[in-house]
């Protein structure tokens, strides 16, 4: 079980020998890439974030404004509002997606026709946005949409799913979870395939039912995978753009506007690249802090996926 010690309390393995040469040799392609395609753009944007630049005049002629974009955003109700929306969106989608995907992946794993089910659950990932938007538009229609028809059956009042500012974010979260389950299931399935069948056999001999097997074998042994899904899920969700942007255009008061949408609009509609870049860096700080928090929580739970 040594290899799985990453997930199981005190580490029982020997310390690896330091091999700096080999380490950097394997990292060389990635590091070379990042030094060009990541470091340069980020430094460039950091400089832009201290300027007032409309992207039309040369950057050298743009006026420097120091860090005033940052102080503007941090005291701007609009920016704080989109941060709040994004936080709600991220917390809800990531937790719901992972829980549902985990349950379904386990249910499907050894089911009959598992290839077919896996494909069907993955279908939203390959289905183009237009089709997804159209169908969910049908479902959310206020008049003869499916959801409101169901509510009507129970004698409830119709809900304005996408135009009521108190409901729109919730509606978009439902769609996002629906769209995200397939990708997470795929990764969980790959993780399930890594769990030796022996454990389950042994558990069965001990008389453990399916629920105990799930909580005492599957979940702990999947924790590197779950850590990965949680961390990348939050990193992605904090930057969400497409779904709110396409579904939430008629929701009032920026009630579903996210930080990326704000950055996009500020940059390419208001032509304020400086302020947009500052927004991007503030978002980075939030995501970075949030990710550290997640890793800390996992570590406290005894999982050392990250050290």
């Amino acid at each position: 079980m040594a290899g799985l010690s990453e997930t199981k309390g005190p580490v029982r393995r020997k310390k690896l020998k330091t091999n700096t040469g080999a380490g950097y040799a394997f990292l060389a392609p990635a590091l070379l890439f990042y030094s060009i395609f990541f470091v340069y753009p980020v430094v460039f944007s950091l400089i832009v974030s201290t300027k007032r630049w409309n992207m039309l005049v040369p950057l050298s002629r743009a006026r420097s404004v120091g860090f005033s974009h940052y102080s503007y955003l941090l005291s701007d109700q609009v920016f704080l509002g989109v941060l709040r929306n994004t936080l709600i969106y991220a917390l809800a989608t990531v937790s719901l997606t992972i829980v549902i995907a985990l349950i379904l992946a386990v249910l499907i794993n050894n089911a009959k026709l598992s290839v077919l089910w896996r494909f069907i659950y993955f279908a939203p990932v390959v289905t183009p946005q237009v089709a997804i938007g159209t169908i969910w538009g049908y479902l959310y229609r206020p008049n003869n949409g499916l959801f409101n028809s169901i509510l009507r059956l129970f004698g409830m009042k119709p809900v304005y799913w996408l135009t009521d500012p108190n409901v729109a974010l919730f509606s978009i979260i439902i769609t996002a979870v629906w769209a995200g389950i397939g990708g997470s299931m795929l990764i969980i399935t790959a993780g399930l395939k890594n769990i030796p069948q022996d454990y389950y056999d042994a558990a069965k001999i001990d008389g453990a039912g399916p629920f105990r097997q799930f909580f005492y074998i599957t979940v702990p042994l999947l924790s590197p995978t779950l850590l990965f899904l949680t961390a990348t899920g939050f990193i992605g969700a904090w930057q969400v753009f497409d779904l709110p942007f396409t579904m939430g255009r008629n929701a009032p008061a920026r009630s579903v506007m996210t930080v990326s949408w704000y950055v996009y609009e500020t940059a390419f509609q208001s032509l304020r690249m400086g302020r947009a870049s500052a927004g991007a860096f503030l978002l980075f700080c939030v995501i970075f802090g949030f990710t550290l928090l997640i890793l800390w929580l996992f570590r406290r739970g005894g999982i050392k996926g990250y050290e």
Binding site: A111, I135, N144, I235, A267, L283
Partner: protein, 282 residues
């Protein structure tokens, strides 16, 4: 004993009910896309949503072929998505191996750095990376569509997590036998992480296949490099899309099919997950 058996059967039934119920919701838009691709424009704007065309318009598929150079778009998309996928698999598994199984100075810092590369909105990269493409003189060839996506922080993280689950003893045995790290990577690591590689391949390929904004900006000055989503977007008119909506949906079916094929092809790697028996006797 009988009661236990009944419970087990009941659980199985619940299990399949859940699976089928979920599957219905998941496949709905996918099914509608195919159905809608056979509809007339009039059927698409009807007030009551239509789930099946009255008379399938197979001609839509012919019309799309006549309207846009689909084969050229396919070729470009395959070259770009295929190359990026291969590059990402190679760079991610190498870096993932280093982070999971090798000790070296600066490991933690570098890994945090890799994670942080995922934390910036894509919009701030457009201008500087476009400038780099111009600088390198790549704007008129495939490199501008491929190289900026050759390394993925997501891929590195995913590979690291999976390689972590491989027992160190396995590698140490090989090292005692005098194997170099490169040999360990190619002969032990890669074969053992096939399910993870397949997952990453599917996700990367699909991400690239559907990628829109960057290819649009780059290929606007080199139209012969246009990828499928960019080409399809040219079918739409500003504001009112009714006239061409049926053709766009049909074109999207052309876009979806290769992804389905890739997914089903790579599925088979899931069946052969590696078996730890023999190492798991602690």
């Amino acid at each position: 004993m009988n009661r236990k058996k009944a419970i087990r059967i009941l659980l199985e039934i619940i299990r399949y009910v859940i699976i089928v119920f979920g599957a219905f919701w998941m496949i709905l838009p996918f099914f509608w896309l195919f159905s809608a691709s056979l509809m007339t424009p009039e059927e698409l704007i009807s007030d009551v949503p239509k789930w099946l065309p009255e008379k399938p318009q197979w001609n839509n598929y012919v019309q799309v072929l006549k309207r846009i150079p689909l084969l050229m778009y396919y070729k470009n998309s395959f070259i770009v998505a295929g190359s990026v996928t291969l590059l990402v698999l190679a760079t991610s598994s190498m870096a993932g191996f280093a982070f999971a199984k090798l000790r070296f100075f600066g490991r933690k810092v570098l890994f945090s750095f890799v994670l942080s590369t995922m934390m910036f909105p894509v919009f701030i990269f457009l201008i500087p990376v476009y400038y780099l493409m111009k600088l390198f003189g790549w704007l008129d060839n495939y490199l501008s569509l491929i190289v900026p996506f050759a390394v993925s922080g997501y891929g590195i993280f995913l590979m690291r997590q999976f390689i972590l689950t491989i027992p160190d003893e396995l590698l140490d045995c090989a090292r005692l036998d005098g194997a170099k790290e490169l040999k360990i990577y190619t002969t032990i690591i890669l074969p053992l992480i096939k399910p993870a590689l397949a997952t990453l391949a599917i996700l990367t390929f699909i991400g690239q296949w559907n990628s829109f904004l960057w290819p649009l900006i780059v290929t606007s000055t080199a139209q012969r490099l246009m990828t499928l989503p960019v080409g399809i977007s040219r079918l739409s008119l500003a504001f009112s899309t009714v006239e061409t909506q049926h053709l766009i949906l049909t074109a999207l079916v052309y876009q979806v099919i290769p992804m389905v094929v890739v997914f089903l092809y790579l599925q088979r790697y899931y069946i052969r997950g590696f078996v730890l028996s023999g190492f798991g006797n602690l």
